[in-house]
Symmetry: C2
Subunit: 406 residues, 2 copies
């Protein structure tokens, strides 16, 4: 008997009819002889409604209370699914975080799971009960409700799968798997049958929306196989697992893009030790996450320094950087929000040369200027003008022959 | 320093503006030097919305899941009030039932409070925190969420006041106190400054909507003074306390009515031992609550038996009774839903004679036929035709001179 954790997102539980569909899928897994744990998000739009309610009560709502408020969305869907499964003749029980003992730290709105006490859940599974756990929420050791941040339900599902030593964590979403690139931009996009944790992680970080990086990190750490599936179709699916010898080692597995980029350049910075630290310390103190950083070679004791941040942080980051720039004697600060990041990702890069050259050449052939480059072992990212985003994705998808199965 | 428990109903927390009003009242009590515990209901209409959601998922929703679903309404209001009080500069914390440890039995949808573990709340009160507790909800000893049934938030408030040994439990509602009768029916209705638990209990049982009988029972048991106040006005209020020598001992304190009555008569019942038990056992097995019962004196070995139930139970009750009536050889069963109950209530009745005669005379003068009579130590109730309800209330209010302060 296998133990399966299934996670359904907001679009899959948007109303009673859709929750009934979820119930039928859950029953199918149960009838196939599995022990089944289900993790649910709130109904599509509900978490946003609750956040608006909190923000209409205070511009900066108290974190503890905010979390207890927004976590009600998942409480509604898990109890509705349990009611429906019971009606359909299956024993099912909902578990809120305090009941499932999903213990987190105290960082409200972005808590991290510390442990899941699985005794009660295992007990119910042994009795044949379908266990339904509220995603996105946790409790700290004092019993205060916490939430895990956006996409937290995926993390809840993987954490439960890890704690229960589940055979697979199935993530049901509105697409039927992980694609070589976004099918909305490139009609040659092809669904991947499988992908490694590292590639999925780089794709998530580089802008692919299908899974959150945190959830993939956790799956990698505990070697939980993730199966990404459509909740509206029976076909398809992509298995995210650790890389093994049988896995197709494609040089490049996917092309991603991220429009949420703003580029900030500090021009004519005196090239002295400690200058970079002085520039970036205020940003980290304000919790601004920096994505890419490049520094030109120094010329006559001066250099230019460019970095990218999320568009929502662009104003605050440029304000902070302008203050420091003045102090250290830099010439000026330039901000450009009309940029995007395109990336090619693949574990095969490690053993293949020429990937970077091929990428740059393909972009150059279309007259797309590369403004910044950054690389990891299995990823190359380029910042380009925003208007070239779709073109760059299509060109790279073609250049690496991703429409064909290797 | 006094400890005050304040309870606000659904109309008082219907939206952010109204919750801000509640916050200002809470702050006033706090600034007056009190320790303050607040108990809230869900926003007006929200519990009904959640019940509809549950009933659209299953005709008879699983009780455990139903309770966890409908209890989200209070979770929203308590966190919003805490957010607003924090914004206004006051330390405030919301407590759900599992956090406040409001322990109940396992009777879902109508659980009874067994105990409240007040340690955590007292701890916060000592730090000057305003403690906000979700009404209507509890947890059983295994941590399953329960709800207390309609009007449960009043019961939550009184139970907390009893457990915390509070000086007073203030119930804020949309009326400014307890009246001699319903002001919507009788414009001579007068607000009472105080009333005894027993009178309030009889009034609540006899149809007055302002407080639920369960909440008054609990207040009486633990001698918690209840102060019924308007959440929209500063004036007025009625204090519900144990009767003491200073209390104005009015012969009659109030007149109530209850339209939710159906009268069922079993005609020509053979007058044998055990017949009444055979008639009423099936009703109790189906959880049908019987209000009044009268049995005529036996004539030639036969009698008529009449009782009243809530209108919603009339069909089922008459079906059950018809089955037994056939078995025991009764002639027929008659059902009349066009009836109402009017009652006069007052602790003074114990020491005054002539109250019943005055009541029957006043009704007779207006040609109102009395179909059933039942009495308790401090109450006399008559069942009359429904169309006479308002007239009977006004006539009795006049007859006992209730418009004048004694």
């Amino acid at each position: 008997m296998a133990l399966v954790v299934q996670k359904y997102g907001g679009a899959s539980v948007a109303n009673i009819e859709k929750i009934e569909n979820v119930a039928r899928r859950v029953i199918k897994a149960k009838e196939a002889g599995n022990e089944v744990v289900v993790v649910l998000s709130a109904m599509a739009g509900e978490t946003d409604r609750l956040i608006q309610l909190a923000c209409s009560a205070a511009a900066e709502p108290n974190g503890r209370e905010y979390d207890a408020l927004v976590s009600t969305g998942e409480q509604v869907t898990v109890t509705l699914l349990a009611i429906i499964l019971n009606r359909m003749g299956y024993k099912a029980m909902s578990y809120l975080a305090f009941q499932a003992k999903v213990i987190t730290d105290q960082a409200h709105k972005k808590a991290r799971i510390l442990m899941v006490e699985t005794k009660a859940i295992k007990n119910e599974l042994n009795k044949g009960t379908i266990v339904i756990v509220a995603g996105f929420q946790g409790v700290d050791r004092e019993g205060n409700i916490t939430t895990l941040g956006r996409g937290g339900s995926d993390t809840s599902a993987v954490a439960l799968a890890a704690a229960l030593n589940a055979d697979v964590c199935e993530i049901f979403t509105d697409v039927d798997g992980v694609y070589t690139t976004d099918p909305n931009i490139c009609n040659k996009a092809r669904r991947l049958n499988n992908i490694s944790y590292d590639e999925m992680l780089e794709m998530a970080r580089a802008g692919a929306k299908v899974l959150q990086p945190r959830c993939v990190e956790l799956a990698k750490k505990y070697e939980v196989p993730i199966y990404v599936k459509s909740s509206f179709a029976d076909e398809g699916g992509t298995l995210v697992t650790k890389e093994d010898e049988d896995m197709e080692r494609e040089v490049v597995s996917g092309v991603t893009y991220d429009r949420d980029q703003a580029k900030i350049t500090v021009v004519h910075v005196p090239d002295r030790p400690g200058v970079a630290a002085r520039l970036f310390t205020p940003l980290s103190e304000h919790n601004i996450v920096i994505d890419m950083i490049i520094q030109n070679v120094s010329l006559e004791g001066y250099t230019d320094l460019t970095f990218t941040v999320s568009k929502k942080d662009a104003n605050e980051a440029s304000r902070l950087i302008r203050e420091v720039a003045k102090d250290i004697g830099a010439a000026r600060v330039e901000v450009d929000e009309n940029v995007a990041k395109v990336s090619v990702i693949g574990v095969g890069m490690i053993s293949h040369s020429g990937v970077a050259a091929k990428m740059f050449g393909a972009l150059a052939n279309e007259g797309i200027n590369i403004m910044m480059i950054s690389t990891s072992e299995i990823k190359i990212s380029c910042v380009v003008q925003a208007k070239y985003t779709e073109l760059a994705v299509m060109v790279l998808h073609d250049a690496f022959g991703l429409e064909q199965k290797p």
